[in-house]
Amino acid sequence: MSEVLVVVEATREFGVKKVTLEMLTLARELGTPSAVVLGGPGAAEALSAKLGEYGAEKIYAAESEEIDGYLVAPKASVLAELVKRVQPAAVLLASAQEGKEIAARLAVRLDNGILTDVVGLAADGTATQVAFAGSAIVKSKVTKGLPLVTVRPNSVTPVPAAATPAVEQLSVSVTDTDKLARVVDRVAEQKGSRPELTEAGVVVSGGRGVGNADNFKLVEELADLLGGAVGASRAAVDSGFYPHQFQVGQTGKTVSPQLYVALGISGAIQHRAGMQTSKTIVAVNKDGEAPIFELADFGVVGDLFKVVPQAAEEIRKRK
């Protein structure tokens, strides 16, 4: 079976991201998964055990200061060379900012089609995509070149399949054009031990109804009790209650968790666009006519400052 390249998404703090394990799981249906680690010196070693656990038969490691020190283009260069050499059956990247950007450059370099926000991929290369904020399902196919797809987090359940990957170091040759956008600094912003928003199985979000930044503690408390991530509606972010990177909606993150809890969120289209493919939705809102209740599998019409503390207490009791 031919190789399927999976471009690894990882963070310094948590290591291999869940979407990578999802991609390895998908890749096994299409061929033999090879993980591609593009990072600074030593990046692959910390990730190899986990990648093997989910079936990576091989790891291609491109490790260099140049990969880490410039935006995206050097990664696309390395990947383009690798694709030309191994002629994989498909290339999978995460459907997030960087994954899409690497894929964009790769598509132009190889004059190859690209499909983004893919939630399923059949052996013949037919991809399932979610379009228009989750209101349409599209089947599509790359017709020029190989299937180059970006996979949306929380699309498939990662299934382990132990393998012992052989690591192959790639030589990194980066052109001057690849080095036009220099990364001058990377600044970590406080986010604690909560799971990453787009990957979390549970997301608890607050909206305008939360009232102020301080009250978001209530949202955070419920998220922590459920082991979830915290999100916020655009209204809450625009009002300065919570930072923008946690915004869920049309102009923020798209999430698709097992459970989505909407607190004080009316459910404007802007917000629904980012969360309506969640498996189960519950909502607390004082306005019984709020559109969020049209989506919610369970809704409580009431004051979130009474309902949420009581729910938190009840969860603690049951633990």
Binding site: V108, T143, A181, V187, D297, V301, K306, E314
Partner: protein
């Protein structure tokens, strides 16, 4: 500084949106078409740079005839002129082909700085800035929440999952922006009137040296095979809090095995 802002006309994301049943492209005919929201932030950023450093702001749009409405709307915010790439052969173009056309148009305009929204609300593909930069051989500073111009040096703050990156490049460059970067101005009455007289140049594929076979359905690198509406969600149980709303909520979560 010579700045070009990419503006796309999209179906209003606040209304029902569809794909056409005949050729699986975005249904623009029946939609309320508007400027892609993120592009207004790109226009605002360009105008701020012009106000601080001088220069000219040009709108570049690829789209059908009716995109003229969005071009006039964009001009009413304050840009100087617009270029509209319009050609029947473009219908059905994929992202790869679109980037080829836009790069060809940008090559003619000779911009120091190209600013665009981070993504459009219709496709949300988010690939255009890097595709264009790749074709032009210039820097791409994408996902900016802050942009600083110092002579020919551009510095952006780019939001990441873990925090943010500070990324720098020299012009010429492509910068894409999120809606956190500024607050777009509303067009004034004077701006709206002035926009009617601003020059809008139309360019066809032949003007750009791009062959019809390279774009549209013929030149597409991917195809939509079929599409369907996702069944709408239906609301489930809704209870009014009578002092036990929190407990009832947790009882529901327990039946679904979340607690």
């Amino acid at each position: 500084m010579n700045i070009v802002v990419l503006v796309k006309q999209v179906p209003d994301s606040g209304a029902d949106r569809n794909l056409r049943s005949d050729d699986n492209t975005v249904d623009r005919g029946s939609a309320n078409n508007v400027i892609n929201e993120m592009d207004e932030y790109a226009i605002e950023e360009a105008l701020k740079i012009k106000e601080a450093h001088g220069g000219e702001v040009t709108i570049l749009t690829m789209g059908p005839d009716r995109a003229t409405e969005s071009i006039r709307k964009a001009l009413s915010m304050g840009p100087d002129k617009a270029v509209h790439v319009v050609d029947d052969a473009l219908h059905g173009s994929c992202a790869v082909a679109t980037s080829k056309v836009l790069a060809a148009a940008l090559g003619r305009l000779g911009a120091d700085l190209v600013i665009c929204g981070a993504e459009s609300t219709d496709g949300r593909v988010q690939v255009m800035p890097h595709m264009i930069a790749e074709r032009l051989g210039v820097a791409a500073l994408t996902g900016a929440r802050k942009l600083t111009v110092d002579g020919s040096t551009l510095t952006v703050e780019r939001q990441t999952e873990e925090g943010y990156e500070v990324v720098a490049a020299s012009t010429p460059a492509v910068v894409s922006v999120w809606d956190t970067i500024n607050e777009p101005r509303y067009p004034s009455f004077k701006g709206i009137m002035a926009a009617k007289k601003k020059p809008v140049q139309t360019l066809a594929l032949a003007d750009l040296g791009v062959a019809p076979a390279e774009v549209g359905f013929d030149g597409a690198t991917s195809v939509v095979l079929e599409h369907s509406k996702r069944p709408p969600r239906s609301g489930g149980a809704k209870v009014t809090d009578e002092g036990d709303g929190g407990v009832k909520l947790v009882e529901f979560l327990a039946t679904e095995k979340f607690v």
